[in-house]
Symmetry: D2
Subunit: 354 residues, 4 copies
């Protein structure tokens, strides 16, 4: 397959190159980054030096590409996607930005401003394979790759809200307290991410609203069948890669009447989650509260759901690497599905621990 | 004043020595640590080397001490406290352990086992000055110094639950999602705190219950006037010092009917908190979400309360240094009050930033 | 190929499993770790959970193994190697310990005590492929895998001491100032590696002598042709993976008379190093001073040699991941060579950045 | 005393405020920072919020100041110093920049360009109290506060090069391998100091020359009596505060002939250093290799000198906090001397550990 990456100078672009650059079935056709046009890729990301690639200033061979990943800011991404889809009929686009994630145009425009290519919204498929796998197939041309917080939080909550295996286990009112490594904030320089200030420090942010909220609401509503109330508070923690979502919700009355022993109820929840994710190779329901480093550099999501019967609450903790399962890895998982390949092709590396 | 520290080989003991060791009005009479008896203190904690102290194996001059800090494991602490209070009538004890924090013996024994000196429970005063200052005075002989999580969480929620300035702002059902630096787990070696494993990693723990929960419940009930339901989930984050509590609760109907503008409501909450803490020198209500490093090594608690009107929730974020305001600093704040000194004596150092 | 790992509960064992566990041409026959016998590997290293392996208490199928990696403490390693080589004629051993690294028994015994299987010393091949590749071939049965410091330091200095491309560039008296991530100290708990103490801290250690010194001396002597004086000072830096060696030596008179322009001389050195390593896929001579993170989780060694003409010194900086190129990756590189495979098989992953 | 700080928006300015802001004998008259003029200081540095100061855009009350600290970029510093010294006869200036550190104008101009006020060079006193204390007294009007690397390195080497207590112990040719926390690089944003890139990483820099080299050479020459050859290689390590210099030099023949036992020689060196620094309250010669965190936030320099008789080398390791003893703390130490106060006034806080 021939694959191009637009936006190679950002962390998501670089992570795509890291993961794709060594696949024998993939040729990296073009790696595009306007700010580094003409430079060896090793100049921008020395870790990628062994690939011996040169950065292009713009796409020049888009017709040859089977897949083009767009790791661009929103708006720029939609514009580029529209151009590719129009000009290159056999090319598929996997958009890593937020531009096609929200099906409702008005919601998009509330958070991101006027949409540059809203006519593509109906065609785009939200690329969270564990939830929407049936729509991610060789007929799909445009994937909206999920945000990192939505991937992590949604996977932590989906089994409890779904009716697939029985009644929902929780009430449709959730609190998501999420911790993110700093690479999720991108490569652009900011005072609060200056090393001396961020090291040995942690904070909550987005307390008055974060763009990933409507995306989470959209997917949880799809799963639950009607709207779910979501409180979402992101935090920055002092690490580069890693995301942890601690999700809280009231247990349903039916769950509470069926389970009266704390330990039994916790085991039952884990088994229920395991059954729900039985066919999802990257989701692992684990028996002890996970650490983010266990999945660093991998495409795995480790989930530990448990209950507090006294407090009548479900607490579900999920961890991912925000750049891998939370971004580039998930994008490649989508590419594999679009290409009709096994979902795990080139993606089954294990977490880099310790 | 003559002050002794028992348990000098732990982090709380060392922090007490750091803070007391340079006070012109304090003589460090004895620093006691069985495991390092006879060694220079610099051997255990080289940062304290300039104090030129030697570790004692046991208390030998307890009658001379005006104050003795006990930084011992629970049970050992209660036993030592009982002995001192009996034998040395003019000595006051500030106990850093959990032994005297819970007024209800049964609750204590559920979490910690049989109490070695339950007869002292009625005499002990819970040393959270911002809430119980009137009980912390020269007549007090035994202080139960609060845990780090309770200090941080309680300060974040107290104004919203209290009726002192008006009706409570929230309903009595709170979620506390707390992040702690690893020094809070103590100096004892553990696999999950081995540097290669903890660095660049984060996790939730205590999901099935944590000993600080009943302590939080006790104080919130005192403030609110009747029981408050508390869900409390601690997390480990990769830093040494620092604690951040993100607290969630439903806003009361009266608050919601009085405030319809998000920005106005957030400002109103901050002003309300400021008024509540107007006489508390170590609590600062801040206008932007705080970072733990802003209070590193200091005795300050920075609080940022805000509301999410759409989600009908209060979100209150507080940060402290878990070893200072969360332990040793608060202990010295208590000592100052017991001694009739200004509360800030020797404690007004600023956060070590960056 | 069938491969077993003895010592799976340590970091080197786990890193071997991480790298070998996903190779289609490798079957992990047995993973042995006495302290975790019978446990699922996920219990010890959750990141390896997706491999679904169970830890064995001892080797039971050693005759079936093509390769056995020994990631054991010294002495235990030599004893196990001796047993395997005697009992299983078609099995090859790659020993990750120090037991067979020093050809001179007396030197070994000075640093490590009595050798349990000194008769094997003549057979063992020191597995630094960039220097000894011709001896690492399908006839070899016992590989002594180099230490992390020796790998990193030796690669930084070899071209300058060698006569392969011309006269040595430096005098045979070198200072090696090396920084190591903490995973190099192993998984055993130590006070100085307790997270709160090691984070945000750094130190020099081994100032009165370190076991890797004679190993470095042995290889540098092999390269130079006669003894080289070595001063070696290791340091601990607050990261898990990563090693950086900064090496200093006097430039030879012939080099100094041939080069009088600082910039030209630096370029010349880099070209010289590139020529020296032209056939070494894992050594990259780079144009800017490298960061350890550029090679995290990879098998690459990035080297930046430069000169200070005014000070008449060569300064050569090399970085590796101490667990990969500094241990497990190099072991697998050796296995590939012993198996007659391309050296890079299963080892060409790129550094996990950022 | 009335004290002003110019350059409050940088890390050195903030550290000065942290250390001076709580002194009962100091009034912070003005804190000046053009980029934050009119803002509360808490907006720039929330840790300093309890001081309740407002940032001025420029000096307005310089005549009232007893001391003005200049924490400005070079050139700007010299210009401001010249103006103050001319206009305000009773005001003393402590310049934290490099502008007055090098007595030789030509050397300065080689590294920094044309000097804006070279006529002041003869008047300026290099403020390293341990070496030049006799020149730092109430008659001095202009202090050139040393750089962090020069402070740390010089203190590590001074006793060995000096003839004060006997013959120099080493030859006048030293290698200084120094590790610095990132706060030393300042508050300005840089890609390599972006948190995700710098965390868990380390590098060497300045390999072709660093501005602190001539400063080190100047002081070592003063101590030794004739020029000392210096190789100096700085490194960045992933922490905010902290500096460690590992210094290497050949032991003199006289030392080698007087000492033949390794352990005895190491002890002798430490005693020699202790005698040298007997009257220096901030220098502690320690018996074990120090960690940078032992002096975090303090004004101490811990030094561990040792010898390697086999390698005929002295190895001396020193640690400081680069912002305290390496900058602001040393500046205040100088201020105390200029004011005729005990050198330790307001500066004897202990390292923030762990």
């Amino acid at each position: 397959m021939k694959v191009s990456i637009v936006g190679i100078t950002g962390y998501v672009g670089a992570e795509l190159a890291r993961l794709l650059g060594r696949r024998p079935d993939v040729e990296l056709l073009e790696v595009v980054g306007r700010s580094a046009a003409g430079q060896p890729l090793s100049k921008v990301f020395p870790n990628l030096g062994p690939l011996n690639l040169t950065v292009s200033g713009e796409l020049q061979r888009q017709n040859e590409a089977d897949f083009i990943f767009l790791a661009l800011p929103h708006h720029a991404s939609a514009e580029t996607a529209a151009a590719i889809l129009e000009q290159s009929p056999s090319t598929k686009v996997i958009d890593m930005s937020a531009d096609f994630r929200l099906r409702d145009r008005a919601t998009y425009e509330k958070w991101y401003g006027a949409h540059p290519a809203a006519y593509l919204l109906p065609e785009a498929v939200y690329g969270l394979p564990e939830i929407y796998r049936d729509k991610i197939n060789p007929q799909t041309r445009l994937i909206a790759n999920p945000g990192c917080y939505p991937t992590c939080s949604t996977l932590a909550l989906a089994p409890a809200l779904s009716s697939r295996l029985g009644q929902p286990i929780i009430e449709p009112d959730v609190i998501i307290n999420a911790l993110s490594g700093t690479s999720g904030a991108g490569r652009g320089l900011k005072q609060n991410l200056h090393y001396p200030e961020m090291t040995s420090s942690t904070t909550a942010y987005g307390l008055e609203g974060h763009r990933h909220l409507p995306e989470i609401e959209q997917t949880l509503q799809d799963i639950y069948g009607s709207p779910v109330s979501v409180s979402f508070t992101p935090h920055l923690v002092p690490l580069s890669r890693g995301m942890l979502a601690t999700c809280y919700a009231r247990l349903s009355d039916s769950f509470l009447s069926a389970h009266t022993d704390q330990a039994e109820a916790s085991r039952a929840i884990r088994e229920y989650y395991r059954e729900f994710y039985a066919n999802d190779p990257f989701v692992q329901v684990v028996d002890e509260s996970p650490y983010t480093k266990q999945v660093a550099g991998s495409n795995y999501c480790f989930i530990y759901p448990t209950v507090n019967l006294a407090g009548r609450r479900l607490i579900s903790v999920a961890v991912v690497d925000n750049l891998t399962k939370g971004a580039a890895g998930e994008g490649i998982q989508n590419m594999n599905l679009l290409a009709g390949l096994p979902e795990t092709t080139g993606l089954d590396m294990l977490g880099l621990y310790p």
